[in-house]
């Protein structure tokens, strides 16, 4: 007697489940898509128009920001019009839909698309070869002389750049902690964080600039001027392999030390005063207290900062691009990626290089996921 009723109930359940799925997909995919279409048409018009620049800029800003705000207002309004249960089931997707779709389009799906492209020919159409030759792009990425040079250089960046940034950052954090002018020193070291790599490139190009020898020619770069004043000979610093890599790395250290310093400094301030005081009473010197208490206490922070800067130096592009273009033995992986794709037009090889970069950060991704799972209870 209960049979048919149960069946129809199950069927109704299925229908409701199915329509909910459709609704969710619709809300999180189509509403953003429609917004995108509306925004898009206007932007094609804006790009090709010859109106005064300031007007284009103003219209673009209002249109873009307003459009996205409207996306949420309208889709939420639509969902709230739906009867009871429906609205509750669909609303979360109004909230997270746009974020998930954009992240999917710009990051998650490209991982797989780039992976496929890395097995294709320079135009990205056919497979790059048959049989083992399908790995040709990877053969290039891992064994070519150009790539080996970039590996060596990125290794230098990762080791020297990170050691310099974290080392100097730690030194300043520790010293500034004991000075009454702490905030002034920290602001000065931190200041380059606001400067673009291109801007920093110009600043340091001027430090390293070389005019050569001759009557009436003066060195105008401070480094060569110092070398001359000390009785040395001026040098074209940026075309002296392998040392030019070091001169480029110094630029990154100049930019990143502020980051390391600020994060380490806040960790040092978290070291309990009683702990240090107890050690001092027990007769520990300042140096001993630093290595036995402060360093172990801030170990986690040091690891995080180090990882961050290592990843940073792995992907480094702008400095090399602007300063040397990768010539004179200063090429790095990200610059070779750019050259392969945009100068030589080899999509396959460029994709393989991008995958190499991804492989290098996979341990960090795994670690992040593990940390997240550990704290899942909070989630």
């Amino acid at each position: 007697m209960q049979g048919p009723h149960e069946k129809s109930c199950a069927f109704a359940h299925f229908i409701s489940w199915f329509t909910t799925i459709i609704g969710r997909v619709f809300i999180s995919l189509f509403v953003p898509a429609i917004t995108f279409l509306v925004l898009w048409k206007v932007f094609l018009f804006l790009r090709d128009s010859d109106a005064p620049q300031s007007i284009i800029v103003l219209v673009a800003i209002l249109w873009g920001v307003g459009g996205v705000a409207m996306l949420f207002v309208i889709s939420n309004w639509l969902v709230e019009q739906l009867p009871g249960n429906w609205g509750r089931r669909l609303q979360p997707f109004v909230f997270i839909g746009p974020a998930v779709v954009i992240m999917g389009w710009y990051l998650t799906i490209p991982v797989f698309r780039t992976l496929v492209l890395s097995f294709k020919d320079p135009l990205g159409q056919d497979w790059v070869g048959k049989g083992w030759a399908i790995f040709n792009n990877y053969k290039f990425a891992f064994t070519d002389r150009i790539m080996l040079e970039t590996f060596r250089n990125n290794f230098l960046w990762m080791v020297l750049g990170t050691a310099l940034s974290v080392g100097v950052g730690l030194l300043i954090a520790v010293l500034a902690d004991r000075s009454q002018f702490e905030s002034i020193y920290k602001a000065i070291i931190f200041m380059p964080m606001a400067i673009s790599f291109v801007g920093a490139g110009v600043i340091w190009k001027f430090v390293y600039t070389y005019r050569g020898e001759g009557v009436g020619i003066h060195e105008i770069g401070i480094l060569n001027a110092i070398v001359l004043a000390l009785g040395g000979k001026s040098q074209p610093w940026l075309s002296l392999p392998p040392w030019n890599n070091l001169f480029l790395i110094i630029i990154m250290a100049w930019l990143q030390t502020g980051f390391a310093m600020v994060v380490i400094s806040s960790a040092i301030k978290g070291v309990p005063f009683e702990l240090l005081e107890a050690a001092r009473i027990d007769g520990a010197t300042e140096v001993q207290a630093f290595f036995k208490i402060t360093i172990p206490y801030i170990k986690g922070t040091l690891i995080t900062v180090t990882t961050t800067i290592i990843i940073f130096s792995l992907k480094l592009f702008d400095i090399v691009r602007v300063m040397t273009g990768g010539n004179n033995g200063t090429n790095v992986i990200a610059n070779e990626f750019y050259l392969q794709r945009f100068t030589y037009g080899n999509t396959g090889r460029a994709s393989a290089i991008a995958i190499v970069l991804l492989l290098a950060v996979i341990p960090v991704i795994i670690n992040n996921l593990r940390e997240f799972n550990k704290n899942r209870r909070a989630f």
């Binding site: 996205v68 698309r113 400067i195 961050t308």
Partner: protein, 366 residues
């Protein structure tokens, strides 16, 4: 004993401050050099280093001698009471009274300059002409190192500055808006796929953006999005969203639950709770990320190089192209670098507190 300890302390404070001042000096020197150079005359820049604007001793010309044709320039040349060869004179000879003789040009010029070391005060021919030249898009003239007049089209950094604003403002606001909604959804709403989607966000935190450039460029070519503001906003939004969502999630999910429950009982919808309650409460977190993202977008070179290009070039792109094309025009490069640093520096120093907070809460960006 106590006094000894005190003086010991004073001494170590002196050393600490000394080391810090030294490091800070090294840190500032490159920027100071560029800053000073940006105000100097285009020809002066090549004749002396930027430090020459400060008082210093310099060889000042006080006269010149033209040797008459009777003098044999191949042998010892009698001049000003000494005998010296051409080579020695070319190197420069200092007379016993402190004056210096320097031969100018080749042997046929027969010209010797007498100079004397004198104190020179602060340089006085500093101007903002370089800034005018680099900002304008009109034609400009200046003298190069050899003294030639150069006529050139301006670099139009003013236009690039506007473009950078058009890129950076929406590319900061849009991801914040989208991330705030998503963070609220992940914090307070229950729905299927929640864990999966959030795991995706965590995994995407450090993915290098080189992974995306090629496929997204293909899409943009098909959609004709290349070179549009919309295209670059979306790109910056996509690359910034994982960090934005993660940061805002950490903040929003730590807000007290009772607050929301009270609002629900009052009959507020999720949307009004987010807009009226959560967003105002989250201003510190929103500001942290906003500064982060604004600086990142303003200073970005790679994304704008790939997706925006020449037509609506942003300031980093414009500056990089001066480096590439006119690498020796230091008067334009230095002033251009400062124009590009103006806005991020202002934002940075005004809102440093929020920036630091965001940095301490955040992790790495792809």
């Amino acid at each position: 004993m106590a006094a000894g300890k005190k003086s010991q302390k004073k001494k170590s404070a002196l050393i600490i401050n000394g080391v810090l001042i030294l490091i800070c000096g090294i840190w500032l020197l490159p920027t100071v050099g560029v800053f000073i150079t940006s105000f100097r005359d285009s020809q002066d820049i090549f004749n002396s280093g930027w430090w020459a604007v400060f008082p210093h001793k310099e060889d000042i010309n006080i006269g010149e001698i033209i040797l008459d044709d009777a003098v044999d320039v191949n042998g010892k040349i009698p001049v000003e009471g000494i005998n010296a060869s051409f080579e020695e004179l070319r190197e420069g000879i200092t007379l016993p009274d402190g004056r210096k003789l320097t031969w100018i040009g080749n042997k046929r010029s027969r010209k010797i300059i007498i100079s004397e070391r004198q104190w020179v005060g602060f340089a006085n021919n500093l101007s903002i002409d370089n800034y005018k030249d680099v900002i304008t898009g009109k034609e400009i003239t200046f003298t190069d190192s050899a003294g030639n007049e150069i006529l050139r089209k301006g670099n139009n950094l003013g236009g690039a500055f506007l473009n950078s604003i058009a890129v950076a403002v929406p590319a900061t606001i849009i991801p914040i808006l989208i991330a705030a909604f998503a963070a609220f959804g992940f914090s307070w709403l229950k729905f299927p796929g929640r864990d999966l989607f959030f795991t995706m966000i965590i995994a995407m935190l450090v993915v290098p953006l080189q992974i995306s450039l090629i496929p997204i460029l293909q899409d943009y070519t098909k959609l004709q999005l290349n070179g549009t503001f919309l295209g670059i906003w979306l790109a910056h939004t996509g690359f910034g969203l994982p960090l934005a969502t993660y940061l805002l999630f950490n903040y929003i999910s730590s807000l007290p639950r009772e607050l929301l429950e009270a609002a629900y009982i009052d009959g507020a919808t999720n949307f009004t709770i987010l807009v009226r309650l959560i967003l105002p409460l989250s201003v510190p977190a929103l500001a942290s990320f906003a500064i982060f993202q604004f600086l990142w977008v303003w200073n970005d070179y790679l994304v704008s190089l790939v997706f925006l290009g020449e037509k609506s070039r942003v300031i980093t792109y414009a500056l990089a192209s001066i480096v590439g094309e006119k690498g020796q025009d230091w008067h334009l490069l230095t002033s251009g670098a400062f124009v590009s640093m103006l806005l991020p520096m202002a934002v940075f120093f005004m809102l440093q507190r929020y920036f630091v907070r965001g940095m301490l809460a955040g992790s790495v960006k792809g």
